[in-house]
């Protein structure tokens, strides 16, 4: 970090990181999960070790192997589609983050928008609406003729991939062309990484980075179920997600959103903003091994973590805590533990690493952003949320998972991992504000 004190920034050069680039500060954080809306509600529940996972009531679950999820059920009274819920979650998280940041003016955010959004497509209720206007057997020719009536025009906008980001850009007045992206289960982290890159390039003084996912509906759940990715230990629901446990049997789908206001550090200082932390480094690696499985040697995950540390100008010894991807699938947790051991060596046995997913489930597209927000709360509060449901440790994975009970600890540097289908591996290094480090 620069030796210039925050109260006396060098106007010409400004603060630079170890590689001479602008420093990327975090000035606003927002979060919604099944545990509640906002940082306070989530932090209270996360540090109490409370689970937001419950029996699904949104749709009938008869005949399904998995009947539980971390759905967010407190935002709508009537029925809604996945993009509508994803948009609502994103808006609420962004309102909280932008509000905390105090940046710009209402509806005039002075920076770009990077959004991780779940892939969308037309859903069954809407297809049924079209089908209801048809006689005889339904096929796509019939659905097309119903669409041609132009009585269902609103569905076009609802099911475009770009709509959620477009609406968020409208609401917050972000600048430029908003990005809607997917890197599967690392999408939220990629949204943050893209904001970091844009600020480092000097393209934008600030970035609104959001990961959102409100896509638990019958078909989405069934698709993951058919891949045998989900836990089927439905009773009791809150015990199903058990990362790093010997009897872990899959992840639990969750919903939520995380939003971060990233800002050029000097820009934030100049306007007197409170600096909540720094996104110090990002690393990403592809895995050409398999469509759903990670390389057995964990190489891409190892490299992603090492790249993130190198990008931050830090070494493994600087890391105080790992916010794990920790999905609770047999394969991920084993691979992640092994990869961390490769990066951190013997220190791994006593380096705390916990999984938020034990409480909120896997918020999929949103996870990287949601867990980055929680990581910054961990730094701010000096308290590590636990991995709950850690009753039967997996002897093959010797880890300090911060079992079951939150722990006070001085945390200045967090490594947050996100790994996804399609060989997506992203790691972020998140640190305390420089004056506090």
């Amino acid at each position: 970090m620069s030796e210039t004190t925050p109260s006396n920034p060098t106007p010409a050069a400004g603060h630079r990181d170890s590689r001479g680039r602008p420093i990327v500060a975090v000035t606003g954080l927002g979060i919604v999960t099944s545990l509640g809306q906002g940082k306070d509600a989530n932090w209270e529940a996360l540090t109490a070790g409370r689970s937001g996972i419950h029996a699904i009531e949104r749709f009938p679950t008869q005949g399904l192997r998995t009947t539980i999820g971390g759905t967010v059920d407190f935002l709508f009274d009537g029925p809604f589609s996945a993009p509508q819920l994803s948009e609502k979650l994103a808006m609420l998280a962004a309102e909280e983050a932008v509000g905390q940041s105090g940046i710009g003016r209402a509806g005039d955010f002075p920076g770009e928008l990077f959004m991780a959004v779940p892939p969308v497509e037309m859903e069954w209720p809407q297809k049924q609406e079209l089908a209801a206007t048809l006689e005889g057997d339904v096929d796509y020719r019939g659905l097309l003729s119903a669409a041609a009536s132009q009585r269902f025009k609103a569905m076009h906008e609802m099911f475009l991939f770009g709509t959620v980001a477009d609406h968020v850009a409208d609401a917050f007045g972000t600048k430029g062309s908003p990005i809607s992206l997917s890197t599967a289960c690392s999408s939220g982290a990629t949204a943050i990484q893209m904001g970091v890159e844009a600020i480092r390039r000097g393209d934008t003084p600030a970035a609104l980075c959001i990961g959102t996912d409100g896509s638990i509906h019958a078909e989405a759940l069934i698709r993951f179920s058919l891949l045998s990715a989900l836990s089927t230990q439905n009773d009791p629901p809150e015990a199903a997600a058990k990362p790093f446990s010997k009897n872990r049997d899959g992840f639990v789908m969750g919903e939520g959103a995380g939003a971060l206001v990233l800002e050029d550090y000097d820009h934030a200082l100049a306007r007197g903003a409170t600096i909540l932390g720094i996104v110090a480094g990002c690393g990403e690696r592809g895995d050409g091994f398999h469509r759903t499985r990670s390389s057995p040697d964990g190489k891409p995950a190892i490299l992603a973590m090492q790249d993130a540390l190198a990008d931050a100008g830090l070494s493994p010894d600087d890391v105080d805590y790992i916010n794990a991807h920790g999905t609770s699938t047999p394969e991920n947790d084993k691979m992640e533990a092994m990869s961390c051991a490769a990066v951190f060596g013997e220190r791994m046995a006593r380096l705390p690493m916990s999984s938020n997913k034990s409480m909120i489930g896997h918020t999929l597209t949103a996870a990287g952003a949601v867990e980055a927000v929680i990581s910054f709360l961990t730094i701010a509060h000096g308290r590590i949320p636990p991995t709950i449901n850690y009753v039967t440790p997996d002897p093959a994975i010797a880890l300090d998972v911060v079992p079951n009970v939150a722990r006070d600890a001085r945390v200045r540097t967090v490594l947050s991992n996100s790994f996804g289908f399609g060989g997506q591996n992203t790691s972020l290094v998140l640190t305390a504000e420089p004056s506090r480090s």
């Binding site: 097309l144 076009h156 997917s182 599967a184 058919l226 469509r291 289908f421």
Partner: protein
């Protein structure tokens, strides 16, 4: 420090066939497009010319695990890597960063129809839907549908271990993919990138999405800028991938430069009459002066209003030769802008012009432009 960004590989596949030659020829001769007006009547489409998949996707098992839009994209990406001479360069493929503009996967149309028919008379519709989906969805279907799995398959099939990102959001995803790739190389954040998109037009589920909004042309083919009587998209199956590289890196390895990508700009206008023209004029101004005889490749959609406004913006550059990519191979949605940039680069590499601009205004949102010059 700013780096020049050059194009060292072009992968193109469409109704016109594959490769730089076939597409550059079509640009030069304004050949008649390939149109299928019957299979999806009343909606015409430009069908993909059948590919010899084995040439780029040697394993049948890989081919089976992909849908047509993914096979097309993986194929075109392979052409770009071959052209750039990177296919067998493990070191380059470890450094290669990938950005893909993609939509989603194809529905099983027969399954959807049968379920919708059955749902009408079902006593317990929820239970019926669950039972049918559990029984009728192929387990691997999901993987063929996930937007980021085109990038995933490119990684697996071509052995790329650099990171990938997938942009979604219709036409603008393609603009932003090329824009971001350019920006990262120009700023020194990456040295070599593979960027592009892929679109399969021969699917009723996508036609349905556009027809819900009234965005499809019905009847016969008409040129993009001459559809006033029946405006709308005529979609085309097409994919384009580009290898972008810093000029220094390309020079150091002695790569052939096909074109230089000077600038890529994008915006999002609030759509109201005149907004698209104003937005595109602003983007064209950002690109700077355009030389006489320059080629202008437009990714215009053919949609009412928007297309006329794009024509009006381009009319401010009377010195250019305007070509609509849609007139050659149809509208390829997420791939439309990458295809247009690839066409421009192909033309420059063949000496058809010294300079080219590319424009595009999405059917619903987003505007973009790019500028290329001959090497």
């Amino acid at each position: 420090m700013k780096h020049d960004v050059v194009i060292t590989g072009i992968g193109l596949a469409s109704s016109l066939g594959e490769g730089i030659e076939a597409h550059a020829d079509a640009l030069a001769t304004a050949r008649t497009p390939v149109v299928d007006a019957t299979s999806f009547a009343p909606y015409p489409v430009h069908p993909l010319k059948v590919l010899e998949l084995d040439r780029q996707i040697p394993k049948k098992s890989d081919q089976r695990q992909m849908e047509p839009w993914q096979r097309l994209g993986v194929y075109a990406a392979g052409l770009a890597l071959d052209g750039a001479g990177l296919k067998d360069d493990a070191e380059a493929k470890a450094a290669l960063q990938v950005i893909v503009a993609a939509g989603g996967g194809e529905r099983d149309h027969a399954v959807d129809g049968a379920i919708l028919t059955g749902l009408r008379g079902a006593d317990e519709p929820g239970a019926f839907l669950n039972e049918r989906l559990m029984g009728d969805l192929r387990p691997t279907l999901f993987l063929a549908q996930l937007s980021n799995l085109l990038a995933g398959n490119i990684g697996i099939v071509h052995g790329i271990t650099g990171a990938s990102r997938t942009f979604m959001g219709e036409e603008q995803a393609g603009v932003d993919a090329v824009r971001t790739a350019h920006a990262r190389i120009a700023a020194g954040q990456a040295e070599v990138m593979l960027v592009g998109g892929s679109y399969n037009a021969e699917r009723q589920d996508m036609l349905l999405l556009f027809e819900l909004g009234g965005y499809l042309r019905q009847g016969d083919f008409a040129p993009v800028f001459e559809r006033e009587s029946a405006p709308g998209l005529i979609t085309g199956s097409a994919s384009a991938f580009l290898v972008l590289e810093s000029a220094e890196r390309a020079a150091a390895r002695g790569a052939t430069v096909l074109a230089r990508l000077d600038a890529v700009v994008a915006t999002r206008s609030k759509r109201q009459p005149g907004a698209v023209e104003a937005a595109l004029r602003g983007l064209l101004a950002d690109l700077g002066p355009v030389a006489p005889g320059a080629l202008a490749v437009s990714a215009a959609t053919g949609v009412a209003g928007v297309t006329a406004e794009e024509a009006a913006a381009l009319a401010t550059l009377p010195q250019v030769r305007r070509v609509a990519a849609g007139d050659l191979l149809g509208h390829a949605v997420e791939a439309a802008f990458p295809v247009s940039v690839a066409l421009a680069a192909a033309a420059l590499s063949k000496g058809q012009a010294r300079e080219a601009i590319v424009t595009g205004a999405g059917h619903w949102r987003g505007e973009g432009a790019a500028r290329l010059v001959a090497p």
